[in-house]
């Protein structure tokens, strides 16, 4: 059976946030709730060498939603059983069962579960399962103008791209995400997220 996963080419993303906006538009999610977020990671600096200056400044973007992990920590910690996983790997949240304790939000290293304060419960990316079931791509993938975001079978994506690490994403073993990456320059851990106020609200 197909196990769905995302591929994100961080070397191609321009940070336009079309994916984030398309997702919000489709879900009609309220202010502050972003199932997909674009993180801006920056680093490097200027160094004087004799009379000259050298710079290794870099910046890249990470478009991240729920990665529908093989070991979903949100599902593991949720006390009510509101979070479940389909056979194709898609992790779903039943808002009617959620008590709004926000424990999944604490635990998820991707910030995927998002709290909807007015409704008093968590929400999260559902991989646009209704689109998938109709044979169409998730909305964020369809919206990406640079084709930096893609999706497909996890085994195929892993064979094609391998388990690349991009800072500050956690080690794959933590939750085994269904996310495969093409690393940009500077992805080795020297950068830091620069738009905290935007992505954490």
């Amino acid at each position: 059976m197909t196990r769905w996963a995302f591929h994100f080419d961080a070397s191609a993303c321009s940070g336009c946030k079309a994916c984030q906006v398309a997702c919000k538009d489709r879900q009609g999610s309220p202010l502050g709730v972003r199932w997909r977020r674009v993180y801006e990671v920056t680093g490097g600096g200027w160094t004087r060498r004799g009379a000259a200056w050298e710079q290794d400044v870099f910046a890249y973007h990470l478009s991240v939603a729920c990665n529908h992990c093989e070991r979903p920590i949100c599902l593991e910690v949720c006390p009510t059983g509101a979070i479940t996983q389909r056979d194709d790997g898609v992790v779903l949240l039943d808002a009617g069962r959620c008590m709004g304790c926000r424990y999944c939000e604490w635990a998820c290293p991707y910030g995927a579960p998002q709290y909807e304060a007015d409704a008093g419960h968590m929400t999260k990316c559902d991989f646009c399962v209704d689109e998938l079931d109709r044979g169409r791509p998730p909305t964020c993938v369809a919206a990406c103008p640079l084709r930096a975001l893609d999706f497909g079978d996890a085994a195929e994506l892993e064979a094609r791209y391998g388990p690349a690490a991009v800072h500050p994403l956690p080690e794959r073993e933590v939750t085994r995400p269904a996310l495969y990456l093409t690393a940009p320059r500077g992805a080795d851990g020297a950068g830091r997220v620069a738009n905290r106020e935007e992505v954490r609200g």
Binding site: V77, P79, T80, G100, G111, V174
Partner: protein
């Protein structure tokens, strides 16, 4: 992270468990103490019920709280709720059995409730030992929760017994108060000693998270308050104990025990507030 209701839940819940242990051990150590141990026993239940109410305030949809037993297989939060429920049920049976003068049932219920309380404090700690939150994922979390139960529980019991002894004037009760204050002194000394380990752990954990997403939250001012309150709690408890032992010219007055208890609770609240402020997860 805004966590006032969780600070209240954990500190009150751990105090309730420590208080139950203290009165149970006093009951086993001293025969015929059921009458003057009624105060501490009732206070333990009241504190646990208050803790439960505080926990409900944290929820976005409290009407779904009953579903919290739905994932006992993997969720420590689910187990925490189950053990909290077991503690309350056990406490109620203990109260009823003592009221009905059924010592065998009271003793059995008391043992099971004390065990449920230990399980509850352990589950409370495991809730926070998330592999994605390095500042919390340490044995220090577990140790800290049990130390809070021991120190604040022992002094809460001494505080509650202060009322009983003033009316009954029992020398047995006075001896129990002295022993409880001694337990408080030891637990507070260990808590104070563990502060350096906590600070080192927080610094090391901060290296494991993104500095852009997680500005350093460990404030020196709050740390000084925590150490100051622990020190004041330790000093006041130690003076009370030395006074009770006849070494220092201090009497074990109700006011003194109350003051020590309030200082220790304040130290617990400040420490727990800082614990939540240090939340920072791996990744994004």
């Amino acid at each position: 992270m805004k966590a006032r209701s969780l600070v209240a839940f954990t500190v009150l819940g751990q105090t309730a468990v420590g208080l139950f242990w203290a009165q149970a051990m006093a009951g086993w150590a001293v025969s015929g103490g059921d009458a003057w141990l009624r105060g501490p026993l009732l206070l333990a239940g009241a504190l646990m019920l208050a803790a439960g109410l505080a926990a409900l305030l944290h929820l976005g949809t409290p009407r779904n709280a009953w579903r919290a037993l739905g994932n006992l297989r993997t969720s420590w939060l689910s187990r925490e709720v189950a053990l909290g429920g077991a503690f309350i049920v056990g406490w109620a049976v203990t109260v009823l059995a003592r009221g009905a003068r059924s010592p065998a049932l009271a003793a059995g219920a008391s043992v099971l409730t004390a065990l449920a309380g230990a399980g509850l404090v352990y589950a409370m700690a495991r809730v926070y030992r998330l592999r994605t939150v390095p500042a919390w994922d340490t044995r220090l979390t577990t140790a800290s929760f049990f130390l809070t139960a021991a120190s604040s529980g022992a002094l809460a019991a001494a505080f509650a017994l202060g009322s009983a002894t003033s009316s009954t004037g029992g020398t047995q009760a006075a001896g129990v108060v002295r022993a409880l204050v001694a337990v408080g002194v030891v637990a507070l000394a260990v808590e104070l000693g563990a502060e350096a380990a906590w600070r080192a752990r927080r610094r090391a954990a901060h290296e494991l998270v993104d500095a852009g997403l997680n500005p350093h939250a460990d404030s020196d001012r709050v740390a000084r308050w925590r150490v100051g309150l622990l020190g004041a709690g330790l000093l006041s408890s130690a003076l009370l104990w030395l006074g009770a032992a006849g070494v220092a010219p201090v009497s074990v007055s109700r006011a003194g025990v109350t003051l020590a208890f309030l200082i220790v609770i304040a130290a617990g609240v400040v420490g727990r507030d800082r614990f939540y402020a240090n939340y920072a997860r791996r990744g994004l």
